[in-house]
């Protein structure tokens, strides 16, 4: 069940979603069974994050506007990276920025730390009109190309949900040299407090995550996988091996688990073991072979 992204061989197709993992969780898990650890997004400048409430749960799912507090690449290297290095899994560092050049600078300042980089391009582009970099194929191309120019490690472009054409965005990332695309980030939302008209989050808008976004992201993964040759890493509402299989069946090569890590800290391990025992039961060794069998889900 291993997966290869550029030079990097991943032990399994399951890894955490950025922001939904930390060494604090990694220490409770058999990380060897997972593909990688993925860090919370690292920005160039230090950031405090958003005011409370930073997250909440509504019937549609979990909504967060943590706002990505960051200590910058140097703060990350000093305070956080050592704990990641202690985990027995490669570290993929998530990088954010407010302009294509910032991603490049973060990648450089990381000085070779990490086994690969995931570019969180669901960030407003302050170079232009404040639209998300990842929803603008040109800005996305520039961002990926700039990072590509400064590293030989795998580069993954993590695309936003709210795009006019995910195929176009995925192609822009691939053409700029991305080794994989991750589809997708959370679904922008404005949750209100139940029983009042007050915004439930300090930042008003946040990202909706969890099982209910899976049908939305499944379509995006399907379209992206048809559009590009590089692997597609699916992310959105995965809590079980069956959910992972849904994405694999529409063309994903690997999956990320976010919100389910909160519900059940063992979620990622359950997914990986579930996939493995599916393969065992079907007498196959690869996921692509498993998908060719007559699968029924729970």
């Amino acid at each position: 069940m291993s997966v290869r992204i550029r030079g990097l061989a991943l032990a399994s197709p399951v890894m955490p979603a950025s922001g939904c993992f930390g060494p604090e969780l990694g220490r409770l898990l058999p990380m060897r069974e997972l593909a990688a650890a993925v860090t919370k997004t690292v920005f160039l400048q230090a950031r405090a994050g958003n005011p409370a409430h930073r997250l909440t749960e509504i019937p549609a799912g979990v909504v967060n506007s943590v706002g990505i507090p960051s200590r910058g690449p140097r703060g990350f290297l000093t305070h956080q990276y050592p704990d990641y290095q202690a985990l027995p899994a490669p570290t993929i560092v998530s990088i954010g920025g407010h302009a294509p050049a910032e991603y490049e600078q973060v990648a450089e300042q990381l000085g070779g730390a990490g086994a690969g980089y995931e570019l969180n391009v669901s960030c407003p582009n302050l170079d232009t009109d404040g639209r998300d970099i990842g929803s603008d194929p040109a800005a996305l191309f520039e961002t990926v190309a700039r990072v590509r120019a400064v590293t030989d490690k795998p580069v993954i472009a993590k695309l936003p949900v709210m795009v006019a054409s995910i195929a176009e965005c995925a192609r822009a990332a691939q053409e700029a040299g991305a080794d994989a695309v991750c589809v997708a980030n959370s679904v922008p939302s404005l949750p209100l407090e139940p029983g009042s008209l007050r915004p439930a989050l300090g930042n008003r808008v946040g990202g909706l995550t969890g099982p209910h976004i899976r049908p939305i992201v499944l379509r995006l993964v399907w379209l992206a996988a048809k559009a590009v040759d590089v692997p597609v890493i699916a992310c959105g509402g995965i809590a079980t091996a069956d959910h992972a299989l849904e994405y694999l069946s529409v063309g994903a090569s690997a999956v990320q688990v976010g919100t389910a890590n909160f519900s059940r800290p063992t979620a990622m391990v359950d997914v990986v073991r579930g996939l493995r025992s599916r393969c065992h039961a079907a007498g196959v060794t690869t996921l692509s072979a498993l998908l060719r069998t007559d699968l029924t889900l729970a």
Partner: protein, 275 residues
């Protein structure tokens, strides 16, 4: 909020726990008894757990809910007392003895009880009382006398009476209905109660007005004041950054994490609080 000094704490784990008891205590308030031997054995006073609510009748609750460890029982049980607030606690109220739910913990940085100082004064409102009953347990075990203010809207909503009785703590139940919970009344009553000997530690939870009162008292007596605070949480472990407090003095930096640096903090400006 000032972060209390670092100290050793038990390693948290995530285990299924069987519900061994679930009973109503007061309007919309329930006591949940869980077989959670590791937490019962290792939780420090003021620590909490994250309870993953099982999927009852199809309703999916995704985030676990933070709940104070109200009591640690020698037999390996923990007690949680909770208020039905929204969808999560509503669904939690439908779990039945024999059901199993995931418990992550023990979590957070608890209370610091000075070993040698005077008695403990714990002031709680409603289920706020549950954040510090483990501290009363520790005080009781250490032979330190405790006085516990149990404040509530009405008498039937007073939480903690039986716990105090069991732990030999003095319980002062005060209610809005008879006016005894009013800040001025309580101030006078506690001033009289501790006229001879000031407490060695004041702790508070569950009400801004009571925290303000506790601050006045702590300053007057020059004793440390610790408070247990709440925040919306996703992980409880310190990695999601959902629970950060603001840092008014330095708004460009993230404040302490309630789940990791708290939930117990020294109240800023209270006697003996970290600089």
């Amino acid at each position: 909020m000032d972060v209390l000094p670092t100290r050793d704490r038990p390693t948290p784990a995530c285990d299924p726990a069987v519900v061994v008891g679930h009973t109503p205590l007061a309007p919309a308030i329930h006591r949940l008894v869980l077989r959670a031997a590791r937490v019962a054995a290792t939780a420090q006073a003021g620590q909490f757990v994250m309870l993953s609510v099982p999927q009852a009748a199809g309703e999916l609750i995704q985030l676990p809910r933070p709940m104070a460890v109200h009591r640690r029982r020698p037999g390996g049980d923990i007690e949680v007392v909770y208020n039905v607030q929204g969808r999560g606690t509503e669904a939690l109220s439908r779990v039945r003895p024999g059901d199993s739910l995931l418990v992550t913990g023990p979590l957070g940085r608890g209370f610091d009880l000075p070993a040698t100082a005077g008695p403990l004064l714990a002031i709680g409102r409603g289920i706020g009382v549950c954040s510090f009953m483990t501290l009363v347990e520790d005080a009781s075990a250490a032979g330190i006398p405790s006085t516990v203010v149990l404040s509530a809207r009405t008498d039937d909503r007073v939480i903690g009476r039986s716990d105090c009785a069991e732990l030999g703590a003095e319980a002062l139940a005060v209610t809005d209905l008879d006016g005894t919970s009013a800040v001025e009344a309580l101030d006078r009553r506690l001033a009289a109660r501790f006229a001879d000997r000031a407490p060695g530690l004041v702790v508070v939870c569950g009400s801004h007005r009571l925290t303000a009162l506790a601050m006045t008292l702590a300053r007057r007596w020059r004793v440390p004041l610790q408070v247990s605070v709440e925040a919306h949480m996703a992980c409880g472990l310190g990695y999601c950054h959902g629970c950060a407090l603001p840092r008014p003095a330095d708004p460009g930096r993230e404040g302490p994490l309630v789940c990791f640096d708290g939930p117990v903090f020294a109240v800023q400006g209270s006697p003996g609080a970290p600089a």
